[in-house]
Amino acid sequence: MTEQRIYIHGVVLNEETRCTLADLCRLCGVHAEMIHEMVEEGIITPEGPSSREWFFTGIAIKRVQTAIRLQRDLRVNLPGCALALDLLDELEELRRLARCR
């Protein structure tokens, strides 16, 4: 008998992936207070009129997860995480431009 392969479909996380505050907390394993602090620090920017109706994109998921690892592994505080994330984005863009040369 041949082996039956089951291919798993994932969800692509991009600018259009929408998740609520509760989803974001569950995906990143943090409390809502932490997300509020990250929003205040400008690490992520929610859309929606009030925090009850906030939603976030797939990009926010990545930023929160990276910020958590930077906090845990390198003891970077939140303003430091915000700075590191912005610099990492800029570095990524510069690397991309350098590759196109």
């Binding site: 291919y7 994932g10 969800v11 692509v12 996380l13 390198l74 990492l88 590759r99 196109c100």
Partner: protein, 314 residues
């Protein structure tokens, strides 16, 4: 089992002070943190540094480790002598913190007892950890969508309570129109949970293989198309490759080198997004090898007076 030279990993002498150890660890951790570093094997180096620090920051563990002597070399075959840790108080204490999931067999056999024993005696419930990995795919797979089999290394706890790494194979669908840097989340495919709790998630970050012809910028695919001067001057319809196969491209008369032409919808397209192929013209001038060919160029110079440097005059 291979000996690990924790001092060498942190780049410090064996008589380093506790402060020097802390500083060296922080420096190495910043340099090789997987979120920050593009160094080759950054993740492994980051884990090694964490393991080295776990031992050297604790004076008891450090003294025990130092007992093996300074003559061991990184990677050398090593078995700890029996009762090597007699008289030290860390036996059974396991880890003091940090992400111990990926520590080496060397660490495990010296300092790793006890931790999982503790887990077994308590009713311990915890969601599995998320796992992050990078997959490198050919551009064609992103264009068409694909099915891929990937193998990840993950830590597993065996029946003795020791942590080992074992390969884990998964078959995944690469969705059509995925672009570089995007992540695919596979729910429940991360590390297993404890005590009946659910597994973590697996995040795959997509990178593209270097391609001989094409390169991708977000959704657009770029191609440089070499053309002759007469194709540029007179216009032509040329066959050009795209990720989806060959198409005909019309070059307008009087095209200059560097001109960009857009093939709509021939980039990386998904359900909601369209990418184009951008073709950059590169005029290649044929070398005049014979007298007849040289006279053709001379005739052109005579009949088509033209100064491409008029803009440079001051």
């Amino acid at each position: 089992m291979e000996y690990k030279d924790y001092y060498k990993i942190l780049g410090i002498p064996r008589d380093a002070t506790q402060d020097q150890i802390k500083q060296a660890y922080r420096k190495v951790a910043r340099k090789f943190h997987p979120d920050v570093s593009k160094e080759f094997n950054a993740e492994a180096k980051f884990k090694d540094a964490g393991e080295a620090y776990e031992v050297l920051k604790d004076p008891e563990k450090r003294t025990a480790y130092d007992k093996f002597g300074a003559n061991w070399r990184e990677g050398q075959h090593f078995e700890p002598p029996p009762n090597w840790d007699a008289g030290f108080e860390f036996r059974g204490a396991g880890y003091t913190g940090g992400d111990s999931g990926g520590f080496s067999d060397f660490f495990e056999s010296l300092f790793g007892h006890g931790q999982t024993g503790r887990q077994r005696t308590h009713v311990f419930r915890m969601r599995g950890e998320d796992q992050h990995a990078k997959i490198v795919i050919p551009l064609a797979d992103a264009y068409w969508g694909a099915r891929q089999t990937i193998t990840l290394t993950r830590p597993v706890v065996d029946t003795d309570g020791h942590v080992r790494t074992s390969p884990h194979t998964l078959h995944v669908v690469i969705p059509q129109g995925i672009i570089e840097g995007q992540r695919i989340r596979l729910e429940g495919q991360g590390l297993p949970g404890y005590g009946g709790s659910p597994a973590g998630d697996l995040y795959l970050e997509v990178a593209f293989q270097e391609d001989r012809l094409f390169h991708a910028e977000k959704r657009d695919i770029h191609l440089t198309l070499p053309i002759t001067p007469w194709e540029a001057a007179l216009g032509a319809t040329l066959t050009v490759p795209t990720l989806g196969g060959h198409v005909q491209l019309k070059i307008p008369p009087g095209a200059q080198g560097g001109k960009k032409l857009r093939l709509k919808g021939k980039g990386l397209c998904s359900a909601n997004h369209r990418g184009d192929q951008i073709v950059t013209l590169q005029i290649v001038v044929p070398e005049a090898k014979t007298e007849e060919q040289r006279s053709l160029y001379r005739a052109m110079a005579e009949k088509m007076p033209f100064n491409p440097r008029s803009g440079l005059e001051t």
